[in-house]
Every structure is written in structure tokens, then in C-alpha cells.
């Protein structure tokens, strides 16, 4: 955790972002997006949210509302690499569920039963991968699609997925 702590955006950086969006409509979304991107672990720690609330006078309840509404925001640290499986209708009929199960086995991830109904969010023990799902990428013609580190891969199969994940894990370029 000490590494994570030292990686938190510093107050100076936060102030810069907050100042940039001051008096602009919808400032909260802009501030949160930029601040999350400043964090190497791509998430919004509670202390950072409290700081934003204090500086902007936006109530914490409102900030929590926005952060939990948009799938983009994370309240927990993300793995170094992100894999997002589309679970929309088109991808579902093209068996995206199999891809999800395959990845869970491959990366040794287990679902927490107490989180039933919550959005899927699993990070490997070595913090290398975070596996998530999304309702739709809007790329239905290319189903099933998977997003890895911001890039969308189409017509995904288990074999293709295995190759890509291996290459990403080894740090090779895609």
C-alpha cells in the first residue's frame, strides 16, 4: 500500500485541475476524469474525493452519486492492464460469456458472492490485470468485442484472447 499512497496525486496537482474547471458547467465530471487519469492506478481514493468536495463546495453525497453512476470512474485501484468484456446483447449471442469464464479461469479470478448484482470488477493478486464487463461498446457488428488497455478487439475467440493476454503480460507491444 505504501507504493499506492505515494502514487496519489498531490494537492498541487489537484488544485491545478480544480482551477482549470472552475466556474465551468459540469465541472465535477471534468475534474474527476482528469484526476483519475493522473493516478497510475486509475482510481479515485476517498481522500481525493474529500479534497475535491472541500475545494469545490460540491457535497460529498453528490460526488459519490456521480462516481458510482458512471462506469468510467473507479473507487478501487485498477490492475496495470484493463480487460473489458462486452456483455451487450449482440456480444452475448456471440458467446461473450464464454470469453468471460475463460479469462476468469486463465487469470485465476473468483467472484465475490457478496457483491451479487454489483458490476463485475476483478483484479488479479499481482495487480497486473483488472477484468470488467460493460453493457455495450456500440460495436455490435464486430461482436464479440473485448477492450484491452483502451483498444477494441473484434470477433474475439478464446485462442485470440489467450495470445493477446500473454503478450500484454510479457510487456510486448501489441
Amino acid at each position: 500500500m505504501s507504493v499506492a499512497q505515494s502514487q496519489l496525486p498531490r494537492e498541487k496537482e489537484l488544485d491545478k485541475v480544480i482551477l482549470k474547471f472552475q466556474d465551468k458547467p459540469g465541472l465535477l465530471l471534468g475534474i474527476l476524469e482528469e484526476i483519475q487519469n493522473l493516478n497510475p492506478q486509475k482510481y479515485l481514493p476517498i481522500e481525493v474525493l474529500e479534497y475535491v468536495s472541500q475545494k469545490t463546495d460540491i457535497p460529498l453525497s453528490r460526488i459519490y452519486s456521480v462516481v458510482t453512476f458512471y462506469a468510467f470512474f473507479n473507487l478501487k485501484p485498477q490492475g496495470k492492464h484493463s480487460i473489458i468484456i462486452c456483455r451487450g446483447t449482440a456480444c452475448h449471442t456471440r458467446r461473450s460469456k464464454n470469453l468471460l469464464e475463460y479469462l476468469k479461469t486463465m487469470l485465476n479470478l473468483q467472484e465475490d458472492e457478496s457483491q451479487e448484482g454489483e458490476k463485475l470488477f476483478l483484479t488479479t493478486a499481482d495487480n497486473k490485470f483488472t477484468l470488467r464487463t460493460v453493457a455495450c461498446f456500440g460495436q455490435c457488428a464486430l461482436a464479440p468485442v473485448v477492450e484491452i488497455d483502451g483498444k477494441i478487439y473484434s470477433h474475439m475467440t478464446e485462442n485470440k484472447l489467450k495470445e493477446i493476454v500473454k503478450r500484454v503480460a510479457a510487456g510486448r507491444k501489441l
Partner: protein, 591 residues
């Protein structure tokens, strides 16, 4: 903008109405009832529930009447097959996810959802519950219990918390079927900036928000022969509790209330108004002292525990302005377990103090750890152990809870003959009654401060300028040539206006009264449901009627209070007062 009129048709009849009016209001003015759930006039227009839909000619879809404005030539139909079916379907979908255990619900008799389901002819549950998730009940607050499973996401609580109180302790979180109303990080109402005012609970259409029920503890104390159980009733309760028994708002039921409490089995029926008079003695002298000795001004009243917690979170720099006087509820507890216990040879450990309040924040106040002055008073004298620790006030019941106990005991409240409070802690003046309405503490303090400062008799004791339901009232009072500016605010968004001035060092006032709830205690979070502006007005009139009828109307004329000072306390702001009747505040984080 000139008030242009537009011609519209509602259900085939022609009407001329103001431009910019919502369809809902136009229909209401035409005497047509449109069912609503999420709508709350002037506070909440969330368009969340879709119950208020109407048909508009040539419109593709049904329109939500609460947020759709009338336009020239609009033809509105409120009672077509399509409208009835759509309203019913929308309501059935809301009901699908709602628990069906109405007979064990606190809001059994006052649930809007239940009433609307009845009125709209829902006689079967067609849709099963889709969300299987059982959400955790938030019991973190000593004042408010929140059951998210009963919530229908109408957002009225969120609106009132944000717009009326400017606290914003709650908002929606998550999306879709996981949506819920909650606090930051789901910390719970007891762990955030919630000030426990309970306005959310007054506007909740279901039983999702209720007071933290303390009835069981009171029954237990009443059944315990060792306990000497005394009850104190806040001023605003006598102007409202009749409503719980079907009486019209504005009925003053002081005598019936005292009689019913005696029948419940309380050993003494006392009055918080006694300690309201005591509060004026202390606070009035505090004001005089600060004016004479150039102390921190303006002085701000401290009777309203929601406001106190609000100040501790949001205006810590203004805390030096807040009177150090405890609220009347707490002064009563401290006096009952010291002076009264001593005078009548009671073991303070066996004295149980129950208060009946129009308020849910009072539950929090009674549990503040520093509210144990009686224990501190007796600790050395009686060699009490820490394990014998007791609070000054043991149980706090809302007006609603007290009414429920009276019903449970089978007492015919409406037909009871009037009875008096017991002496001496049941004696009070008219100045104490008006504590129940916004401006009342100010007026009561002025009545006493004037006479103490000038040594003259105050001829005109009605300070009309500080009465009424307006959010902020100001006045300039002439005390024998000395001009004193005063201000009164009710609801915390109004209080903010005065507090910004105080914090900036620019407040022109010497004395400020702040009440947390709209209208003051008569509109408190513990009052009968419904509590709306019209009901508040009626209760307020009852309060001033009681004041007018009292033989004594100035706190310093209260003979029982005078006796208390003579026999026990010494003088206002004296050493005993300091320990028993005054307190301190501390800054709280903005969480």
C-alpha cells in the same frame, strides 16, 4: 414578465390560465386531482415517478403534468382510459419492488404509496419483485432509521435535504436496479453531515425513513416499579398531537395531552416549558452580559439541536457566537435529576426522564456524551461508579411515538377531560409556549431582557415583527433608547444567509434566533404527517393562542423558576448553572 394568459382545455372545458404554469397546477386550480408521488410543491420536481401523466392532444406520448407547462390552445385530458391505464401500470411497477409488509410498517396509516394504490384501484399485485437484493438498513443514526428496501426513489428526501436545509447528506448512488438513496461511501446517516432534522422523514411517501423508535424502552421503564418516570413535553407538541387522533390541525390539546400521559403511567407529568423559561433566564442574562461587557455578538440561540450540529460541521468559526445554554430538553433533564430528585428525596439513578418532542434531532442531542451533568453532579456526593452512568434525558419520543403509545394503551384521547401539569416542573409562562414557533425564543428573550435591562415594565409584549412563517425576519428593538437589531431564521438554508454575515464579521445584529425546521418546532421532523405549510400555519396560530391565554407571559415571572434559583441554583450564569445548564460545542469534519 407580464402575466400573460393562455387558453387551454381540460377535459373538454375551457380555461384561461397563467402562461408558464405546469399542467399539474392548472388542473389543481380547475379542481381536478392528479395523483403525484415524487412531486413536492416548491421543493421537488424530479419527474421520477410518472404517476401524474396526462394525455395532451397531438402529443406523441403521455406528458408528466408536474414538469410540462401549459401552452396556448393545449387540450389536456386527465381521465381517459389511456391515462388511467398508464398511471396504474407505472404505479404497479413501483409497487412490484416494494415490500408488502404494510401492517408492520411505521407509516401504516400515513403511507402515500398505500393511499394512492388504494385510490387508483390497485387490487392485486401482478408483478413479482425483480430485484432480489436485500439492502442493509441504515441504523447508524440515533435519530433516523433508513430502510432502503422501502424506498421508491422519488428523491423527495434528497431535494428537501439539499434545497430546504442546504445539508445534502444524501443523494442517489449507482444505476439501474442497483440505484439507491445513500450517503457518501454508504457511511450511514450517523457518520456524515446529516444534522438529524428529519425533514426527509416528513416528506418520505413511504416508510423508508422513520424515527429511531424508543417506545419499547419507555414501556419498560413505566412497568418497572423501582423507576420514578417523569415526562416533559415540548411546546410544539400540544399544538399538533391532536392531529394523530383525527383532530383538525390547530387544535390546542394541552390539557388532554397532560391527562393522557398521566394515564400512560408517568409518575409526574412535567413540561419542557418550565425549562424553556429557565433557558430564557440563562440565555437572556448571557445576552445582557455580552451586550454590557462587549462580548462576542451577535449571540445565536442554541435550542435547536439540528442547527447546533449544522454549525459544528459547516460554520465552526461561528461557534463562539452560539449561546452556551443547553436546550430546554437538556436543562429539564439536568434539573429533574438534581434539584427535583434532591428536593423530593429520590435516588437520581432511579429517575427516568422521558421527553416528548416535535423533533428527531433531540434523540441525537440526548445521546451527546457531554449531556450527563446530573451524573457528574452526583458522582462524588454519592460515590457513583462509572458503570452506574446515566444520561440527563433517558428517552426521547417524537409526537408520533407518543401518540402511538396513547393509542396502544387504549386511551380515548379526544374525549379526555383537561388536566394540569404537575408542580413545580410543570409551571410555565406564555414566553415558554412560543418557543414552539419560529421567532418565539427571540420574542421570549426580548420580553425578559427588556425588563431586566431597564427595570421597567414592558407594555407591548407582542413582538409581531419576529412572528410568521417567512424564512428570515429582522427587527430593531428599542430598549430604553438602546437600539438592538435582531434576526430570526428558520430552515438551515435561510440560516446560512445570516451565518455568512456572522462568519465574515459583518453581521449587524446583536441577537439571532435559528431554528432548524421550516416554521420552527411546529414543523419539526417528529411532528404528525402530513406537515405542510398550511398545517404549520394552523399549529403556529395555536401556539400564540396559548401564549395569549397564559396569566403570566414573561419567563422571569415564572414562580417555579424563581424558586429553583432561590433554593438551588443561586443566580443565572452562576456556578451551578454553569455546570448543569450550559454546555460546549466542537468542530466536526465535513464528511
Amino acid at each position: 414578465m407580464a402575466d400573460k394568459k393562455v387558453n387551454i382545455k381540460i377535459d373538454g372545458k375551457d380555461y384561461q390560465v397563467e402562461q408558464g404554469l405546469s399542467i399539474l397546477k392548472a388542473c389543481q386550480a380547475a379542481g381536478i386531482i392528479i395523483p403525484t408521488i415524487c412531486y413536492l410543491e416548491g421543493i421537488s420536481e424530479e419527474a421520477a415517478c410518472s404517476i401524474c401523466v396526462v394525455e395532451v392532444k397531438n402529443a406523441k406520448t403521455l406528458m408528466r403534468s408536474c414538469v410540462t407547462k401549459v401552452t396556448e390552445g393545449m387540450e389536456i385530458m386527465t381521465n381517459t382510459e389511456r391515462v388511467r391505464k398508464a398511471r396504474k401500470m407505472n404505479l404497479e411497477l413501483l409497487l412490484a419492488g416494494h415490500p408488502k409488509d404494510c401492517f408492520v410498517c411505521d407509516r401504516n396509516q400515513t403511507c402515500e404509496l398505500r393511499r394512492i394504490a388504494y385510490e387508483m384501484g390497485i387490487r392485486e399485485v401482478r408483478f413479482p419483485k425483480t430485484v432480489k437484493l436485500e439492502m442493509e438498513i441504515d441504523s447508524s443514526s440515533p435519530s433516523i432509521l433508513r430502510d432502503p428496501n422501502k424506498c421508491i426513489l422519488c428523491r423527495r428526501c434528497i431535494s428537501v435535504c439539499e434545497k430546504v436545509q442546504s445539508v445534502s447528506a444524501i443523494d442517489t448512488a449507482k444505476r439501474g436496479k442497483l440505484s439507491k438513496v445513500t450517503t457518501f461511501m454508504d457511511r450511514g446517516l450517523g457518520n456524515v453531515v446529516c444534522v438529524n432534522c428529519g425533514q426527509c422523514l416528513l416528506v418520505c411517501p413511504t416508510g423508508a425513513l422513520v424515527e429511531n423508535n424508543e417506545i419499547a424502552g419507555v414501556w419498560k421503564a413505566l412497568a418497572d416499579p423501582k423507576k420514578f418516570v417523569v415526562v416533559e413535553t415540548a411546546p410544539a407538541v400540544r399544538a399538533s398531537i391532536g392531529e394523530e387522533f383525527g383532530m383538525a390541525p390547530g387544535n390546542l390539546v394541552t390539557g388532554k395531552m397532560a391527562a393522557s400521559l398521566r394515564r400512560l403511567g408517568f409518575d409526574r407529568v412535567f413540561d419542557t416549558q418550565f425549562s424553556a423559561d429557565l433557558t430564557i433566564m440563562e440565555e437572556g442574562h448571557e445576552l445582557i452580559d455580552r451586550i454590557k461587557n462587549k462580548g462576542v455578538l451577535p449571540l445565536i440561540t442554541s435550542c435547536s439541536p439540528g442547527w447546533i450540529k449544522f454549525a459544528e460541521h459547516f460554520y465552526p468559526k461561528a461557534l463562539a457566537h452560539v449561546s452556551s445554554c443547553k436546550s430546554p430538553q437538556q436543562m429539564f433533564g439536568a434539573v429533574a435529576k438534581t434539584y427535583y430528585a434532591q428536593k423530593f428525596n429520590l435516588d437520581p439513578r432511579n429517575v427516568t426522564v422521558v421527553s416528548i418532542m416535535p423533533c428527531v434531532a433531540k434523540k441525537f442531542e440526548a445521546k451527546r456524551p457531554e449531556m450527563d451533568s446530573a451524573f457528574e453532579f452526583w458522582k462524588d456526593k454519592m460515590s457513583l461508579k462509572e458503570s452506574e452512568h446515566f444520561p440527563d434525558v433517558d428517552f426521547v419520543l417524537t409526537t408520533r411515538e407518543a401518540a402511538r403509545m396513547i393509542k396502544e394503551a387504549g386511551i380515548d384521547f379526544v374525549n379526555l377531560s383537561d388536566e394540569n401539569f404537575d408542580e413545580p416542573l410543570g409551571i410555565s409562562t406564555g414566553a415558554a409556549v412560543i418557543f414552539g414557533a419560529t421567532g418565539g425564543v427571540m420574542e421570549a428573550a426580548l420580553r425578559t431582557a427588556y425588563e431586566v435591562l431597564t427595570g421597567k415594565t414592558l407594555e407591548k409584549i407582542d413582538f409581531e415583527a419576529v412572528r410568521g412563517l417567512q424564512g428570515i425576519k429582522t427587527a430593531e428593538v428599542d430598549i430604553d433608547g438602546m437600539k438592538v437589531k435582531v434576526a430570526v431564521a428558520n430552515s438551515l438554508s435561510n440560516a446560512r444567509v445570516l451565518l455568512e454575515e456572522v462568519q465574515a464579521g459583518k453581521s449587524p445584529y446583536a441577537f439571532i434566533e435559528i431554528m432548524t425546521c421550516p416554521g420552527g418546532c411546529i414543523g419539526g421532523g417528529g411532528q404528525p404527517i402530513p406537515t405542510d405549510t398550511a398545517v404549520r400555519q394552523k399549529r403556529m396560530e395555536a401556539i400564540y393562542r396559548e401564549d395569549k391565554n397564559k396569566p403570566l407571559r414573561k419567563s422571569h415571572q415564572n414562580p417555579a423558576v424563581a424558586e429553583l434559583y432561590k433554593e438551588f441554583l443561586g443566580s443565572p450564569l452562576g456556578e451551578k448553572s454553569h455546570h448543569l445548564l450550559h454546555t460546549h460545542y466542537h468542530e466536526r469534519a465535513m464528511v
